[in-house]
């Protein structure tokens, strides 16, 4: 019986009424049936694709520049070039960010494949971009929807390439203007500079690489920090992926579809390169793709991904036997993700009756929506909920993503914010809800007798609902 609850509460996103009954026959089969193929958004909030958002942004920025020029031209005030009165980036991006956050919460609330949806969230956090970087504010969610959802039930290598070639990732980790020292662009600039007298007031444009994306691919996306690469490997890999950029620039950076991945051959460092003991003779874009394909097959990658998966689904200190099992499946299949997920389902440690994971704010909000069987209609309520609870959506603030252990979420202040949010939600949704019924339909056998007693004794149904949401068994999975 408890296995049903484990499948729905730990592997999934928490129970909607009816979920426990649906999974009860064969909890493992209920999970396995979810893991193949793409995982589209559930719900129907329309979302713009990243290329459209980038294009809107460019139009908004150009219009803004034009208005500014006109204002300066018409003004007699010599200080008319002062600070802009509004930020075109924000204006263009905000509605998209809000729509993405709303769509994500709706999908979590409504999906009939909650295990697959949790896996989407897992990979979004693994391949984290953060909306607090202005340049990716409005497209942060598109990485999840365009690169992760199509590949979450496919091969890791395909997922990896889709992510690293997504404009949100390239923009977040600054790769679009990373230039090889011997690239056509750098050589052309050097030739031109040698024919012109130097202007001491104008610093000469220096071309070179930016290591950010290369380092984080190795450290955070594939091998892990102890995965056996050196600083030289980081630098070489950065040279290998020079030219991985975003379409739609101007001048020497013209070309490509605005807002889509575009390989700029003139920025690329030419030639074969030696990376982690192997020489890559491919040219252009294919060189980086060959490296990613190899990285996806390395044992260090298998182990790193397995460790993170087991930490997410089993316990903060991942049991070595479970990590071993998942890593072996990863290595044996060359990163076939359904096989990897199946190994996780087969790991006995994942079915321990004790709940070892303290819910993150995301877990808490999504499982509450499912318990109450509601789907949010307004972006504000979702955005504000996550601000209050300290996990602003798509904004982990770091390419490492949100921490996945209780000690990063269990501050006393954080607990108080949960209590506050639970009581607000309770007063909003208590009508028509019997907290005792809800305890049984969402927690099943995990509902403790002392919690049921507390719900019975509560002074109001609002208070009972808040107590249920804050009960230790609802706060864990």
């Amino acid at each position: 019986m408890i296995q049903t609850e484990v499948a729905v509460l730990r592997f999934g996103l928490g129970a909607r009424p009816g979920d426990l009954a649906a999974a009860a026959g064969d909890p493992r089969a209920w999970l396995t049936a979810q893991i193949n193929g793409a995982v589209p958004l559930a719900g129907n909030t329309p979302l713009a694709p990243s290329d459209q958002i980038f294009t809107e942004l460019r139009v908004a920025r150009d219009e803004f520049q034009e208005k500014k020029r006109e204002a300066v031209a018409q003004s007699t005030d010599p200080k008319a070039t002062a600070a802009p009165t509004f930020n075109p980036l924000r204006q263009a991006y905000l509605p998209h960010y809000r729509a993405q956050v709303l769509a994500r919460a709706q999908s979590a609330a409504l999906t009939t494949r909650p295990f697959a949806e949790r896996l989407v969230h897992f990979w979004t956090n693994h391949f984290a971009v953060s909306a607090d970087k202005a340049a990716v504010f409005g497209v942060a969610g598109t990485l999840e929807n365009e690169a992760i959802r199509p590949h979450v039930g496919g091969r890791f290598a395909d997922l990896l390439i889709a992510v690293e070639q997504h404009p949100a990732m390239i923009g977040f980790l600054d790769n679009q203007y990373s230039v090889g020292k011997d690239s056509d662009l750098a050589r052309l600039a050097a030739r031109q500079a040698s024919h012109q007298p130097t202007d001491p007031d104008k610093p000469k444009r220096e071309f070179g690489i930016n290591e950010n994306l290369a380092r984080e691919i190795l450290e955070l996306h594939t091998l892990g920090v102890n995965g056996g690469y050196t600083q030289t490997d980081v630098t070489t890999f950065a040279q290998i992926i020079t030219g991985w950029s975003i379409g739609g620039g101007k001048g020497r950076l013209a070309g490509g579809t605005p807002g889509r991945f575009y390989f700029r051959d003139n920025l690329h460092e030419p030639g074969a390169k030696r990376f982690m003991g192997k020489t890559y003779y491919e040219s252009g874009q294919r060189q980086g793709e060959a490296v990613l394909a190899d990285l996806a097959r390395r044992p260090a990658t298998a182990r790193f991904i397995a460790t993170k998966l087991v930490r997410h689904f089993v316990a903060d200190d991942p049991p070595p036997a479970a990590v071993e099992r998942v890593a072996r499946a990863f290595a044996k299949t060359g990163g076939d993700l359904p096989a990897v997920y199946a190994a996780l389902i087969e790991a006995p440690q994942a079915w321990d009756a004790d709940m070892h994971k303290f819910k993150t704010p995301e877990d808490f909000v999504f499982s509450t929506l499912r318990a109450l069987n509601v789907s949010p209609r307004q972006p504000e309520e979702v955005v504000r909920s996550f601000d209050l609870l300290g996990q602003r959506q798509y904004t982990p603030g770091s390419p490492a993503g949100w921490p996945d252990t209780a000690k990063s979420w269990d501050g006393s202040d954080a607990l108080m914010h949960r209590v506050l949010w639970a009581s607000r939600i309770a007063s909003r949704y208590e009508r028509g809800i019997d907290p005792l019924d809800l305890a049984s339909s969402t927690l099943g056998a995990y509902a403790r007798p002392e919690t049921l007693t507390a719900l019975r004794r509560a002074s109001s149904s609002t208070q009972a609902l808040a107590l249920l949401l804050m009960s230790p068994e609802f706060q864990r999975r």
Partner: protein
């Protein structure tokens, strides 16, 4: 050693030549170490601050050529550094810190690093906070271990000895001694009866029970000190997207943890720390975090993205001093980051992850007005791995000095329990006024 004048003083920097006359120290002697009034604040800059921009070595002959348009010019020219000595300056956005230096309340450290030598933010921050020589192996932080080594000033107030100004406690403060966390986001009152019933519900679950009682205690503490929301940003209800903090953020990816404060919010965070610490019963230790220092692209020089961040930090430190008021003379504020950045500008007008960087120690309790630097220079042969400023001072030498001189943790405990494997990092001397 590229600079001849440094050759004569490099030892001198370390033993703290001259800067201070004994008379300057006297007024503070009456107040130091009486147990209740000394305060320590640790400010963690997550994302790796460019020490060569914050503390520009303007006189180093290789500096301008490497740092290029990100370099800060010598003092005296437009947008030049604020002078510290003949070699180093402060970034022009750091006016308050420069006042502290003039008032001999600031020590500037250059070419420092933790024992960590790779270039991962996340491992680097772990080493900065766990006090070990390696990223993993400790679930607690050195600041908590230091508190654990000291006798409780007042057993009844044990939970109030340290506060993290965030929703959750960062590694540096995690450990055996209970620590409170308080985010600058105001928590409107939660219904007392609900809290009482929750306490009852949690009575069979130690983990939840401990956290709830801490939360209730912290709430009372904040109430007793009055509204800590000195800054308007903290009193307003949480907004969907804070226009300023989101959109004026420089084009950088921050580092862990994610909830670190945006530049214009750091002041609010600092003021909350000050308010909580202000009375004798308040915490003696506070930790503040600020993110956004990972300037891989478009870092800027005297103006620009990093300059804005530094101005925000400078403003926050000034707010901390103002709000600590009479406590400032007994206060030491340590500003640290996980590592420095590359000596050379990269291809996108930023800097990549490096090694040696800077640290700051400010406060009325500090014997300041000095730069402590065994400067290795930026010549190609002097750089670490051909790219980074070579560290010549272990950050733990500074930590040990502050814990030893300001918190009175004994040397043996420092060398064994708090910083194991740190025999190479001897404590500096004379950082704190006697």
């Amino acid at each position: 050693m590229p600079l001849s004048h440094l050759a004569t003083t490099r030892r001198g920097f370390l033993i703290g030549t001259g800067a201070l006359a004994a008379s300057a120290v006297l007024p503070h002697m009456l107040f130091a170490h009486t147990g209740g009034s000394a305060r320590r604040v640790v400010v963690i800059l997550r994302g790796a601050l460019d020490g060569l921009a914050a503390v520009p070595p303007y006189a180093d002959p290789d500096y301008a050529g490497l740092h290029r348009e990100l370099a800060i010019a010598a003092p005296g020219v437009a947008d030049g550094a604020l002078a510290l000595d003949n070699t180093f300056g402060l970034h022009p956005a750091c006016a308050f810190l420069h006042e502290c230096y003039a008032a001999r309340e600031l020590v500037v450290f250059q070419a420092v690093a933790s024992p960590y030598r790779d270039r991962s933010h996340f491992d680097g921050q772990n080493v900065l906070e766990n006090g070990l020589a390696k990223p993993l192996g400790s679930a607690d932080g050195w600041l908590n271990r230091a508190l654990a080594a000291l006798p409780r000033a007042d057993a009844g107030h044990d939970a109030e000895r340290a506060v993290a100004i965030s929703q959750n406690v960062p590694l540096i403060l995690r450990g055996e001694v209970p620590v409170i966390s308080k985010s600058p986001q105001a928590t409107p009152d939660v219904d007392e009866e609900l809290l009482a019933r929750l306490a009852d519900l949690y009575s069979t679950d130690d983990w939840f029970s401990a956290r709830l009682s801490e939360a209730v205690q912290t709430g009372k503490l904040a109430d007793e000190r009055g509204n800590p929301a000195g800054a308007p940003a903290m009193t307003t209800a949480p907004t969907a997207i804070d226009a300023q903090s989101t959109m004026t953020a420089p084009a950088t990816a921050g580092a862990q943890p994610a909830m670190t404060a945006a530049p214009d919010r750091v002041s609010g965070v600092a003021r909350m720390a000050a308010t909580l610490m202000r009375s004798d019963g308040g915490p003696e230790v506070a930790v503040i975090e600020a993110g956004g220092w990972d300037t891989h692209a478009n870092q800027g020089g005297a103006k620009g993205a990093l300059a804005q961040r530094l101005a925000g930090l400078d403003k926050a430190l000034r707010a901390l001093k103002d709000d600590l008021g009479s406590l400032w003379p007994q206060t030491a504020v340590l500003v640290v980051t996980e590592f420095g950045r590359t000596a050379a500008m990269n291809g996108t007008r930023g800097t990549d992850h490096g090694t040696g960087g800077c640290a700051l120690l400010a406060g009325g309790a500090v014997r300041g007005g000095r730069v402590v630097a065994d400067w290795p220079g930026l010549a190609r042969t002097a750089l670490l791995d051909n790219r980074d400023l070579r560290p010549t001072l272990d950050l733990r030498s500074i930590f040990k000095a502050v814990l030893g001189e300001h918190m009175r943790v004994d040397a043996k405990t420092l060398a064994t329990r708090i910083f194991p494997d740190s025999s190479g990092a001897r404590p500096l001397e004379g950082l704190i006024r006697a």
